[in-house]
Each structure stands twice: as structure tokens, then as C-alpha cells.
Amino acid sequence: MTTVETGLRGVGTRLGRSAWGGFALRRGGGLLLSIAVLVLLTFLIVPLIPGDPAAAILGADATPEAIAAMRERLGLDEPLPAQFVDYLRGLVTGDLGTSFHYGIPVTETIATKLGYTTTIAFGAIIVVLAVAIPLGMAVGVLTRGGRRPGLATTFGAVAGFLASFPSYVAATVLIIVFAIQLGWLPAGGASSTQAYILPIAALALGPTFAVARVVRQETYNVMQQDFMRTARGRRISAARLHLRHALPNLLASTLTLAGIILASLLGGAIIIETVFNLPGLGTEVVSAIIYRDYPVIQGIVLTIGLIAIAINLAIDVILGIIDPRTITAVSHD
């Protein structure tokens, strides 16, 4: 690992002085490590099943012949490293195995389900950022330095309350109000665009207010910085002061903290599909765990993990654009 890193660093210095070049090399190393951890994790699911995985998969009634056949199919009789090599070979050739339950390639299952999950997850991320940043910043500016204590307290209480709403509880409440009581929106399914409104709202509700709280706090922090006083000294308009001078710094610190919230939104998406009967990856992976359909579990965990890695990477790139200091090297010291 260290030799690889030293090697990469050497290439980095040779490649030139571009900060982004160094960033790409350094972040590339982290990216590879994340993917390696993810692949190892999904591979280990089957070997780590307590007892005989084949027997566990087939249940208590299985005949010894069936168990032997399953061991053969899973390659369990081979030594672990050989199994891992087989698994890697499958991944590289785009073969994630065949579903025990459906008898079709896992890649096909994922391809048909992926869209539902990404639609609600990315929809929710957009809603969170579009609402939380203006809201948190507005409250932060209005209540800075102890102004409007009533607004500060109200926002703190309401946002704190809504931020602790788990997505599936929010979903239940939203269904009761908007689908059952008011009848405005469908309670489930994926037949129309409107059917996505409640899932996205339920998924975005808690994180929106969690991020808005972060944004408010960061607004306070940024407004106290020396460079904001310098900017005030240029006697520019309030809009220019806040949007041009505060916002970029705010976004940088907010995104660093909100990155984890955004990635965890994927977890919420998995859970919430059940509530709304959305045939996405979440519903699928839950039933795959209940039916012990391991190729499907591995495939979906891998897919969701890769999306999370992609979100993190996207956040780092955006951070680098907003605040160039973040792309210079950081070490663990």
C-alpha cells in the first residue's frame, strides 16, 4: 500500500504543478481503496455466514445432495483466495451471478430496479440542497449576533424536531395526510410522476432540516471571520456581501459536513421504497435478504456502495472548485 502511494506521489510530482493533478492522484488512491473495501465486503457476505452457508441458504429441510450441489454452485469447496479470484473475475467481466430466486442474471435485476432508487435518492438530494442552504443561511443572517432571539429559538425547535423525523415515519405521516386525508397524491406505486412526490418529500424532510441547522451554524461562523469584516469595509450591498463573500465559504464547510448526510440519504431510500411500494433496489435487497438470495444481495450492495462512493467523489470535486484549499494535500498528522 505504502509503496503504491509513494509511487503515486512520485508520479504526481513529475506530472506537474497542477493542484487538480495532485488531487486526482490522491483522491484516485482513496477511491480505489474504497472500491476495494466494498468489493471485499460484498465478497465476504457468503463465506462469513455462520455454519455451512449452503445449508443456511437452503434451509432446514434441504437434502445433503441439494446442499452439496449448492456448495458446488457457490464454489465453497475451493479455498477462499480462489473463491475471491473467481468473484473478481466475475465483476470484471460484468457477471454478478444469477439470482437463486428469479433464475436471471443479477445485472438484469439491478438494471430494471436502479432507476427507481436513483430517482428518489437524487431527487431528495436536490430538494435538500435547494431548500436547506437558502433556509439555513437566511435564518443565520437574520439571527446573527443575537438578533431576533424569537426566530432563532423557533427555528432551533422546529428544525430540531423535523430533523429527527426518520424517513419511514415521515412517509407514514405524509401518506396519512396527503394521500388519505386530503387525497391529493398517490400513496404508492411508480405509475406517474406524482407518485414520486411523496417519497422524495419523505426522504428529504429530515436531512433538509439537519443540513439547514448545519448551514445556520456555519453562517454564524463565516460571518465572524475576518474576511467578512474586510468585505463589509468595502461597503458593498447586503446581497453581494452574503451571496458572493459568505456563500462560497459556507458551501465549502457545509458540504464537508453534509456529505455524510447526503450519502446516508441512500440508506433512507432503501427503506422508504417499502412504504411506497416502489420496485427499486431497496425493496429488492430486503426481500433478497429474507429469501437468502445472495447473488442479488451482493450485486445490490455493490451498486449502492458505488453510488455512495460516486456521491462522495462528486462532493469532493465540487468542494475543490468552491474552495481550492481543499484539493491540496492533507495527511493524518
Binding site: G146, P166, Y168, T230, V286, I290, I304
Partner: protein, 556 residues
């Protein structure tokens, strides 16, 4: 009473009260309500009534009783998962700092790469390995929380371990493990408690979510998540069945969140210092016209808590004059200068009989263009006073483009000329750089260039050399002197360093505890002809710095 309330803030009290109430329910409800919760045979799906406050479910069981009885299992699972995250996480996060560096980097990198995944992904993997069950939900959420604890413990340990007292303890030969228990834990214990509270809330909601989708608690056991999922099929006819466990989940989530927030505030008393809304000055005296450029009469600055910071200060600065304002930190000199510039912090109150720069009344807002162009500002720490996210060209030409209606190119041209005047090499290129790409001395010169670009009548320089190396200091002072001589720009120069002030200023005002205690000409200062004991003490503490050979320090 008030003392207690100050120590236990409102969120903490509310959070602890909610958690205590839930704990009581968790202990009592299974003993007293088990029968109502589990007995079949009541009227199924009955509406709320005196007997069944929230009605009954499809098997005739009391909805409220079931939600209350489920409290025990739900809380125990969350507690177990939190312990499962915290103990290994803290041990890993702290112990990496006591091992070899290569191992530390490797472990931290691994932790980083797992923190990137949503914890639910990790939880799904573990649920898949162990199969759906109560225990596997606890283990899944618990293990999934380890990286976060390890990462945060490691970050905090890093900051503590590099602190002076740990270094001192190590030099004194205190064994490492003893450092860990004796010095480290008390310092990182507080933040870990906060993390524990919030991760308890998270574990509770995530375990419930696993139960909710069928991967956690299995029938006939039930927790809130399981109750909620059982309610979903009949949500159209019986929304009440879903509302009871939802409400319990929200109450517990809010309780844990409030506890965490309250603990955080409790442990960081600085963050909760009472702040008061600022008032604007009310004294209304029309300023008499004089030939002085700056006129301050009876300036009073008051902190939010009522502490006076500047007590009725009066001073003048003539056109083209360099006036030094010296004093130790906290003497009110910066507060005076910032009040004059109308850049005081939000939390203080500024009042004055006169506060005037030229014909600008600095007690009032408005006339932004005149304020921006007549007053040039140079601040103490250039690396903190420039916006790290913006390129230098954009932020330093802002007054020119916003207030002097210059086009971007003309403004950049003006600034490049200014850069060359303060001897910044490669001036054109600097405009497209960010502040972190330049050294502190270079940045301070860009700020001076920017302050001069509008040909201001007054420059307010607030400790402009304090954050700089001595050699760079002298260069910056030389440039300020030259600017004053070339353009007859008046300068208010704030410093705690009499030596620096002596080298630059025509007249020096010594400030102590919010008042001016002595006024000196540069000749008096050079001759050490001072009368106030405070000034004498300042002089005794000051090594001399001279800009020209002509003005050497008097050995007396």
C-alpha cells in the same frame, strides 16, 4: 436555582426529561400492560374509546399498550448497538495514536473508506450474513457505527496528543497507557458523550428501520419499527395504529437529539454566552466643522453584557498626519478603530457625540460609496482577512467595480499598477491566484495596494504588521511611510508595539483600559520623554525597531 439552570441548559433538561420518561415506560410498561398488549380477542379495529385510548389493531389488541410495551425492546436494542459502536470505535480511534505511524495511516485510511458508505449499507451486509433477527439488527447497526466513533475519536486524540500537557507528560516519562487514561479520556470524554447521545438516536431509528422492513425483530416480538410496519397494510382504515409507534419514534428521536445538543452546549460554555441585540448610537450633537480629517468626541463602546470597552474617548487626526494608537491587547484600540470605520462586531454598542471622517458621519450608515473610497482598510492578519474562496483580483477590485463604476479590465489594470507600486512581482498573475497561494507578507502588500487604489483620505491600519516576519514588517512600514509622503494620506496606525509606532508616526496616543492615558509627539517618544507610568511600562517591554539610520534609539 439560577445556578442550576445555567449549568443545565433548557435542551439538556428537556432531553433528559424525555429520556427519563421513556426509561420509566420501558421498565414499567411490560409488567403492567403486557396483558392488554398481547391478549387477542378484544373487538378488532375498534376506534379510540375510553377503554382503548388509541383503539385496537386487527387482532383486537390495544394499540397504545403495544406501543408502550415495545419501548423496552426498542431502547435496549438501541443501547446495545450504541455500546457495540462506541467501545470498539473508541479503542481503535485512540489506540492508533499509540502505535507506529504506518499502521495508523493504513487504519485511518480504511476507516475513511468505510465512513464514506451509508451505515445502512454496512448494516445490510451484516443482516445478510446473520439472517433477519433481533440480534442481527443490533449487531448490524452497532458494527456499522464503529467507523464513525473511530474516526472522531482519532481526530480528537490527534488534537489532544499534540497539545503541550501531553508532550510534557511524555517528557516526564509518564507511560503511554497512563497518558491515555489520565490525560486523554477526561479531555475527549465530553465530545464522546455527545457523539454517544446522537448515535443512540441514530441507532434507535436505524434498528427500527430494519425491523420496519422486516430485517429486525421478528414476530411474535415487536418493537416500534415492527409495529409501524404491521400498521401499514391497514393504514387507510386505521391510521391510528400507525400514529402510535410513529409518535413514540419521534419522541425518542427528539429526546436523544435534545440530549446531544444540550450536552454539546453544556460542555462548550463559550457557545452559549448570552448575546444581546445591538443598539445604534443615540447621542445627537452636530459636528463642528474643523480642519481635522478625523474627529472623535466622547466615543463609548459597550459589550453585549454591558461591560464598557471604550470610555468616552476623544481624538483628532489631521489631514496627512500619521497617528499611532498603542496599548496592550484589550485596551480598546482596535475597538476604537473599528468603530471609527463602522465595522464594529454585531454584538457591541457604539455611541459618540462626534464620529467623523471628513464629512462622513460614521455613526450613521448610508453614503456607502464615499465610505468605501475615502477610507482604506488594512487588517491585522492578511491570511485571515482575505476571502479564501475568491481570487485576489475579484475581491481586491471590488470597491473599484462596485463603487467607482470601473469595468473589470480597468479595475484590474488599476490594481496591477498598485501591486507594482508596493513591489509585488508578477502582478498580473497574482490577480488570478487565491490567497492561500501567496505568503503573508505578499498578501499584506496586496491588501495595502487595494486600500490605496481609491486614493483614500484616511487609511486605518489595524496591527498591519503583527502577523508578519520582522523583515517583512519593516518593508510594510516603509511602504506606509512612502504612501503618506507621496499622497498626503492620513493614517491611523494601531499597534501594541511602541517600537513600530515610534518608527512611523507623527503623534502617538497611548490607550489603557478603554481610555487615552497619554499623547506624545514622535520626538517625545524618541527621547523617552513620557510621564504616564503605563507608557513607561510599555516602553520597558518594547525592543526598538528603526526604519532609518537617522532615528536611532536613545540608549537611555
Amino acid at each position: 436555582m439560577t445556578d442550576l439552570r445555567r449549568r443545565l441548559n433548557a435542551p439538556l433538561v428537556a432531553g433528559l426529561a424525555i429520556m427519563a420518561a421513556l426509561a420509566v415506560v420501558a421498565i414499567v410498561a411490560p409488567f403492567t400492560l403486557r396483558e392488554a398488549a398481547d391478549t387477542l380477542g378484544g373487538a378488532p379495529r375498534s376506534a379510540p374509546s375510553a377503554e382503548h385510548w388509541l383503539g385496537t389493531d386487527s387482532l383486537g389488541r390495544d394499540v397504545l399498550a403495544r406501543s408502550l410495551v415495545a419501548t423496552r425492546l426498542t431502547l435496549l436494542m438501541a443501547l446495545g448497538a450504541t455500546a457495540l459502536s462506541a467501545i470498539p470505535g473508541i479503542l481503535i480511534g485512540a489506540s492508533v495514536w499509540f502505535g507506529p505511524r504506518t499502521l495508523r495511516n493504513l487504519v485511518l485510511r480504511l476507516i475513511d473508506s468505510t465512513v464514506a458508505f451509508p451505515s445502512l449499507v454496512l448494516a445490510l451486509v451484516i443482516a445478510a450474513i446473520l439472517g433477519p433477527a433481533t440480534s442481527s439488527a443490533v449487531i448490524a447497526i452497532g458494527v456499522a457505527g464503529i467507523p464513525a466513533f473511530a474516526r472522531i475519536t482519532s481526530n480528537m486524540t490527534a488534537s489532544v496528543i499534540h497539545s503541550d500537557y501531553i508532550t510534557t507528560a511524555r517528557l516526564l516519562g509518564v507511560p503511554r497507557w497512563r497518558n491515555f487514561t489520565r490525560h486523554l479520556m477526561p479531555n475527549i470524554g465530553g465530545p464522546l458523550l455527545v457523539l454517544g447521545a446522537s448515535s443512540f438516536a441514530l441507532a434507535l431509528l436505524e434498528i427500527s428501520s430494519l425491523s420496519f422492513v422486516g430485517l429486525g425483530v421478528q414476530s411474535p416480538d415487536y418493537d416500534w419499527g415492527r409495529l409501524l410496519s404491521e400498521a401499514l397494510p391497514s393504514i387507510y382504515s386505521m391510521p391510528m395504529i400507525a400514529i402510535a409507534p410513529s409518535a413514540m419514534l419521534i419522541i425518542a428521536g427528539v429526546g436523544a437529539m435534545l440530549t446531544g445538543d444540550g450536552l454539546a452546549r453544556h460542555l462548550d460554555p463559550w457557545s452559549s454566552a448570552p448575546a444581546r441585540a445591538p443598539r445604534t448610537g443615540t447621542v445627537t450633537t452636530t459636528a463642528p466643522r474643523t480642519s481635522d480629517l478625523v474627529q472623535i468626541d466622547d466615543l463609548r463602546v459597550t459589550a453585549a453584557n454591558g461591560t464598557p470597552l471604550v470610555h468616552g474617548l476623544s481624538m483628532r487626526i489631521g489631514a496627512g498626519e500619521i497617528v499611532g494608537l498603542v496599548g496592550e491587547s484589550g485596551s480598546g484600540k482596535s475597538m476604537t478603530a473599528m468603530s471609527l470605520a463602522r465595522l464594529q462586531p454585531d454584538s457591541v454598542t457604539v455611541e459618540a457625540a462626534t464620529l467623523r471622517v471628513g464629512d462622513l458621519d460614521m455613526r450613521k450608515g448610508g453614503r456607502r460609496t464615499a465610505m468605501a473610497t475615502d477610507i482604506g482598510l488594512i487588517f491585522q492578519d492578511p491570511t485571515r482577512s482575505l476571502n479564501p474562496a475568491l481570487r485576489l483580483g475579484g475581491q481586491l477590485t471590488e470597491v473599484l467595480t462596485v463603487h467607482m463604476s470601473m469595468l473589470r479590465r480597468a479595475a484590474r489594470r488599476t490594481l496591477v499598477d498598485g501591486f507594482e507600486r508596493v513591489r509585488i512581482r508578477d502582478a498580473e498573475h497574482r490577480l488570478s491566484q487565491h490567497p492561500h497561494e501567496l505568503s503573508g507578507g505578499m498578501l499584506q502588500r496586496t491588501m495595502i495596494a487595494s486600500a490605496l487604489a481609491t486614493n483614500p483620505r484616511l487609511i486605518i491600519a489595524d496591527e498591519p504588521t503583527t502577523a508578519l516576519d520582522v523583515t517583512v514588517q519593516a518593508e510594510v512600514l516603509r511602504q506606509l511611510k512612502r504612501i503618506n509622503q507621496d499622497d498626503a494620506t492620513a493614517i491611523l496606525f494601531i499597534s501594541h508595539d511602541l517600537g513600530v509606532v515610534e518608527a512611523l508616526c507623527d503623534r502617538v496616543l497611548v490607550m489603557h483600559q478603554g481610555s487615552i492615558v497619554e499623547e506624545l509627539t514622535s520626538e517625545q517618544l524618541a527621547a523617552r520623554d513620557v510621564s504616564h507610568p503605563y507608557t513607561q511600562r510599555l516602553l520597558d517591554a518594547t525592543p526598538s525597531l528603526s526604519l532609518t539610520d537617522a532615528r536611532q534609539e536613545d540608549p537611555a
